[in-house]
């Protein structure tokens, strides 16, 4: 097995991307887009005179003065630096180095991992089998459609884009362009240029989705008779999954970002991942959580503490229980409640709230909590959801109880809808609109209000116009995805008087839980990203051996499973001709017959076509033991062949050779030693008889 990490990814919206070589098959796991990179584009046609003076430094620019030149490069970014063009999209660079036609299988773990797939399926040579869960396929398709619709709307401002090589990249190569912008465009090593692509079309999405085989959780699909592939819930979001792959050479589990206790999606199914030979752990979200960045490495005390609890032979169940403790999920609920209370406060003060988060699970919970809290505070503030797919997405989420957490499944049993938004939509407290210019929006619009609007990058979609409308209003509130404000995200909207709330929601397993997790899962080999390994000491984990992998390097993993099994139908086995051995009574041996197939990930020997043919003239082809000349002479005599023994030790030969001369019925010779016997005869029949005599003395098959 070989693993190549094509991209480590970056948080929830940009999951990692891996290429796996297993049993001779190439498996691509996830095909995401780095959507944070579109922040280099200017959101709307930028008016050059617009407040530009605020950003320019007072130092007059002089290209001939080296000191000033340096200053120029490090000057503050201004909105004018952003690219005024139809956005292109950044795909996984390393994926372009792989021939698309040589990929056999694509596994998509969550809707975010699907966003880049149409780029791959556009390739005429692409013929891989694509697997993802039904919910991922549906939600992912809607997100792609929404992206295309927002993009098309954007294009209305700019007119049609450049056709082939975009001019904007040429412009960015000049020295005046700030380094931070260049880094996004060209990458750390400066060769990211080829990863920028023009967005796909709705037709591309459709033809991509036609190639998808959607599966249920825990449904077994068999690829090529060889690999049994199973999606198990990861808890990250609705439909998100981890993968279990069973093949003739052992079992492997791929763990994407997982959440142990979820309040929307079906929780992390770790039981299903237990005990495989190899675990690929790809979740890097643990490095982004606040407590790690603040304290640097996890303190060794804490670390040892966790390990010692494991060493003290805690029962499996106890360990599993500690994984499922609800601390994290309570913290998540608190975050959501805080967002709601901030929005309510703003509304009370007459300010509107813009929520640009598009994680479906978070949005669904916020809608529910927000409406409930507005109702309990008896605040008459409308909630708007503006997105081309809002209506379909929200209707869909109330028809998929199988994909949700237990509490929501319980609601099905008691006859309530899975998510509370249904009732509020009916009561006209939540309003859904496909776009900001929807005809009915004007009539129901009322401020202050609370708006859920994509896109989280603040470059596309209704969020852009709403942000421009409210950015000067100190009573209004902007709820952002964490980390966005530090980058280019808010640049085109500055100065901002709005209150800003940045939220980082849990999007994986916490670092401290890793030792426990690995103890519960009990893999023989665990592959983790080097960056994770640097942060936590797993060396003392005795149960498994830990291997590191790094971006764009291929890691070979030796086979650790026993030799593969072959299953022989009892029918066929009963037709084998069994040999009893003279000197080994405990053994029975038989030559195989039939046809060897690959079925359900197993080698199987079944009745073939050539049965009678081979059984007719079965003759041992391999022998062992030794031939005593005297016994051979006796055996030959019984067949009516007479001969005499001549012992001879040849000059340089240390081995004992015996020769039996045969005179009657025909001339012949048998030369025998420790390692072998040669039959020398002119006559075919005599030779065959001698062979039979020898075969009678030796064991063979």
């Amino acid at each position: 097995m070989k693993l190549t990490c094509l991209s480590k990814g970056d948080g929830f919206y940009y999951p990692p991307c891996h290429m796996l070589n297993l049993c001779g098959f190439r498996i691509l796991i996830d095909c995401p887009l780095d959507l944070s990179a579109i922040t280099i584009f200017s959101p709307v046609p930028y008016d050059v005179g617009f407040e530009a003076s605020e950003y320019l430094s007072d130092v007059p620019l002089d290209a001939h003065n080296p000191i000033q030149k340096k200053q120029k490069l490090e000057r503050q970014l201004t909105p004018a630096d952003l690219v005024c063009a139809e956005p292109w999209y950044k795909t996984v660079k390393a994926l372009h180095l792989w021939e698309a036609s040589l990929i056999d299988i694509v596994l998509i773990s969550n809707p975010m991992g699907l966003l880049g797939l149409p780029f791959l399926t556009q390739n005429p040579g692409f013929c891989a089998k694509i697997y993802m869960t039904e919910a991922t396929a549906k939600i992912g398709q809607l997100m792609m459609q929404d992206l295309v619709s927002m993009h098309n709307e954007f294009r209305c401002f700019h007119g049609p884009g450049y056709s082939c090589f975009p001019g904007w990249i040429k412009d960015l190569d000049s020295e005046e362009v700030p380094a931070s912008l260049k880094k996004v465009v060209f990458g750390e090593s400066g060769d990211d240029l080829g990863s920028w692509m023009r967005l796909y079309s709705l037709d591309d999405i459709e033809s991509c989705m036609k190639k998808v085989q959607a599966v249920k959780f825990a449904e077994e699909v068999c690829y090529n008779g060889t690999l049994i592939i199973k999606a198990l819930s990861s808890g990250l979001d609705i439909g998100a999954c981890n993968w279990l792959i069973n093949g003739p050479n052992g079992s492997l589990s791929y763990m994407s970002s997982s959440i142990c206790v979820s309040h929307h999606a079906k929780s992390f199914d770790f039981h299903g991942l237990k005990g495989t030979d190899v675990l690929i752990y790809s979740d890097l979200s643990c490095l982004q959580s606040a407590e790690v960045t603040e304290n640097g490495c996890v303190s060794p005390d804490l670390d040892n503490n966790y390990l010692s609890t494991i060493r003290s032979d805690k029962k499996d169940d106890d360990l599993a229980a500690s994984l499922l403790n609800t601390e994290d999920s309570l913290e998540e609920m608190e975050k959501l409640a805080f967002v709601c209370s901030c929005a309510a406060e703003s509304a009370d003060a007459g300010g509107s709230t813009l929520i640009t988060i598009t994680r479906i699970g978070i949005v669904l919970q916020l809608l529910e909590l927000m409406s409930n809290s507005l109702e309990s505070l008896s605040l008459k503030v409308p909630v708007f959801v503006i997105s081309s797919v809002a209506e379909e997405l929200l209707a869909y989420t109330n028809t998929i109880p199988e994909w949700l957490c237990e509490q929501r499944q319980e609601k099905l049993i008691s006859g309530e809808p899975s998510f509370g938004h249904l009732k509020f939509i009916k009561d006209k407290k939540i309003h859904l609109f496909p776009a900001i210019h929807s005809p009915n929006l004007i009539t129901s619009w009322q401020e202050p209000c609370i708006v859920f609007a994509p896109h989280w990058s603040l470059r596309l979609g209704p969020s852009v116009q709403l942000l421009q409308r409210w950015r000067g209003d100190p009573k209004s509130l902007l709820v952002l995805e964490g980390g966005l404000s530090s980058g280019l995200g808010l640049l085109p909207f500055r100065p901002i008087a709005m209150k800003i709330l940045q939220c980082s929601f849990l999007s994986g397993i916490r670092l401290q839980k890793l030792p426990t997790l690995f103890s519960v899962l009990q893999q023989k080999i665990v592959l983790i990203p080097d960056a994770v390994n640097q942060r936590i000491n797993l060396a003392e984990m005795k149960t498994s051996s830990i291997l590191n992998y790094s971006e764009n390097k291929t890691l070979r993993v030796p086979r650790i499973a026993d030799n593969p099994s072959v299953e022989i139908t009892t029918d066929l086995a009963s037709k084998f001709s069994w040999k009893k051995l003279r000197h080994r009574e405990n053994f029975g041996i038989a030559r195989l017959k039939g046809e060897l197939l690959m079925e359900d990930g197993k080698h199987r020997l079944v009745t073939g076509l050539e049965q009678e043919e081979s059984s007719g003239k079965a003759r041992p082809l391999r022998h062992w033991g030794s031939v005593a000349p005297e016994s051979l002479l006796d055996a030959l005599l019984k067949m009516g062949i007479k001969g005499s023994i001549e012992h001879s030790t040849r000059d340089n030969d240390t081995k004992d050779n015996s020769v039996i001369h045969i005179a009657n019925p025909n001339r012949g010779l048998v030369e025998t030693s420790e390692i072998g016997t040669a039959i020398i005869a002119e006559d075919e029949n005599v030779a065959s008889q001698i062979f039979q005599a020898i075969d009678g003395i030796l064991d063979g098959i």
Partner: protein
């Protein structure tokens, strides 16, 4: 194997006794149900419990609390989800049609695999899809066979008949009563009516008798992924279970003037509210009773279908005059004979067992399966045990060398009577079984090692005279000459030539210059002829002699 229970659909014949089983008998093993079944069966069980108590005044078998506790033990499963119940048992559910949430169950115990169909439906109906299953390798298929000999034609004419009968009744100012169980038929017929009402712009109210069926409609809406493709596709714009013309019925409306349509539970007019309404509506010739599907003998529904009675005895001895029209709605979501044959043919199991039907028609179907599909078929009586042979495998660890040799084809050409190509890959493998150890498969070259023995190579050798000694002897020419001869006679033989030797398979021959050679049997001396010293392995015994004979001809 422990006790495992899988409930396939929420018809009373399947889950009716479940609370009794778990709460009163104390069954403690796992219980699996599809999501819709888990959601709907509490409603059905409660309905059933009430009917039993009402009708017979019997002491209840189980209570409402029993139902609730029982349902807590149920594990909900999705279609195709593979569940490892314990080390040996694996189960998986497949879509069965029939009613919302009905599934066929695939179970694998060790190497043996069976499918139990439960009730299923091989054709798409208005709200549910047709049964859908993978092509599985099965030892046994256990099929439901309620309509074993019926072959049902298209159901559209019957749908039209039903709609026209109801329309005629309400147009004449009558009331139409449709006694029905809460699930399945009610939704199907209601969908037909709702749609027809829209198209014909009819304003007559359609009622559902209790909250029960309305609630069931809500479940249908949530569980839309379990309905037919047709329904699913419409769902983006309008959920077809959002009935536009349907309202809740109130007891006071029984005697209200004017036409209406009423769906009332339970079906078959066996007890409860539907029977009560029947008592009031049956005497009027304007009214209609439409009976969907099958009625059990002894119920009022059965009596109405059996003949055209003018009076009917109710269970408590009261008689009712029947002057209303009776319409039997014939379609029912059970599979027919053709469906059973189609499924059996598709799955091609090693054995078939038919259950859940009437004996004579099951025997006819058994005959058909045996003769047309050539599959052994059984119709066991209640309590009878059928045993069929199941698939088992011998498992052996295979060596890398064997698997490697198997990964490249090893064709053997033989032209005994006609050219035959056989793949000899597996024949290089040897199964080795050592007492009290796991079986192994090794390559033939590894056998002696496994047995801790030393290889002993048996070969044949012969120093063959191939040409009379002449003036200008050239080894290269000689080898060429022999090679040509060999290939003339043995077409297809792969001959490798060297300066003074040649090789075919394991057969090796080299010009022998020795004055006296051990491998020479003739008395002909080296001065009279040129010799080729040959040896070959036992595997190529015949091949070797053939070559020797060809070469001797050269002499």
């Amino acid at each position: 194997m422990g006790y495992n229970c899988v409930c396939r659909n929420s018809h009373m014949d399947h889950v009716g006794a479940l609370p009794y089983f778990t709460e009163v008998c104390g069954y403690n093993g796992p219980i699996y149900m599809s999501y819709p079944t888990k959601a709907l069966s509490p409603l059905m069980l409660e309905d059933y419990r009430r009917v039993m108590v009402d009708r017979r005044g019997e002491e209840e078998l189980f209570t409402t609390t029993h139902i609730a506790n029982c349902m807590k033990k149920v594990i909900a499963i999705d279609l195709k989800q593979t569940i490892q119940v314990d080390e040996d048992l694996q189960i998986r559910a497949y879509y069965a049609g029939h009613v919302l949430g009905a599934v066929m169950v695939y179970a694998k115990v060790g190497d043996a695999a069976i499918v139990y169909t439960g009730d299923y439906n091989m054709t798409t109906d208005r709200h549910l899809g047709a049964a859908k299953i993978d092509r599985l390798q099965l030892d046994l298929l256990i099929s439901e066979s309620t309509y074993a000999t019926t072959i049902r034609g298209s159901k559209y004419p019957r749908e039209r008949e039903f709609l026209q009968a109801v329309h005629k009744c309400v147009a004449g100012g009558g009331k139409a009563l449709i006694p029905s169980f809460a699930l399945g038929r009610a939704q199907e017929l209601c969908m037909l009516l709702d749609d027809y009402w829209e198209r014909m712009n009819i304003k007559v109210p359609i009622y559902f008798s209790s909250g029960l069926t309305i609630q069931a409609n809500m479940y249908y809406k949530m569980l839309i992924s379990w309905t037919s493709q047709n329904v699913k596709e419409k769902h983006n714009t309008h959920n077809p279970f959002d009935f536009k013309n349907v309202k809740d019925f109130d007891r006071s409306l029984i005697h209200a003037p004017g036409p209406c349509v009423l769906f009332a539970t339970p079906g078959m007019l066996c007890a409860g509210f539907s029977l009560e309404v029947f008592k009031h509506w049956a005497p009027s010739p304007l009214n209609l009773v439409a009976l969907p599907g099958y009625s059990v003998a002894g119920t009022v529904g059965h009596k109405l279908m059996a003949g055209k009675p003018t009076t009917v005895d109710l269970y408590n001895g009261t008689k009712v005059d029947v002057r209303c029209k009776i319409h039997q709605v014939a379609f029912s979501p059970h599979t027919d004979a053709k469906g059973i044959m189609d499924l059996t043919k598709f799955l091609s199991p090693k054995n078939v067992v038919l259950v859940h039907g009437e004996k004579p028609s099951m025997m006819t179907l058994k005959e058909k399966i045996t003769s047309e599909l050539d599959i052994p078929c059984f119709v066991p009586a209640n309590g009878e045990t059928v045993s069929v042979a199941s698939t088992t495998f011998v498992k052996a660890k295979a060596s890398d060398m064997f698997l490697k040799s198997c990964s490249s084809p090893n064709f053997k050409f033989s032209n005994s009577s006609q050219l035959r190509v056989t793949d000899q890959r597996t024949a290089d493998g040897v199964l080795v079984i050592e007492k009290s150890k796991k079986a192994k498969i090794v390559h033939q070259d590894e056998v002696s090692e496994v047995l801790h023995e030393k290889n002993h190579v048996v070969c044949l050798a012969y120093c063959c005279p191939v040409k009379a000694k002449g003036e200008s002897d050239n080894d290269v020419d000689l080898i060429k000459q022999l090679s040509t001869k060999i290939s003339e006679i043995m077409s297809g033989a792969q001959i490798h030539e060297a300066e003074n030797s040649l090789q075919v398979g394991s057969f090796k021959g080299a010009v022998c210059l020795k004055e006296k050679c051990m491998h020479r049997t003739e008395i002909i001396s080296c001065s009279e002829a040129v010799f080729l010293c040959c040896n070959w392995s036992v595997a190529d015994l015949e091949l070797g002699w053939e070559i020797i004979n060809v070469m001797k001809l050269n002499l």
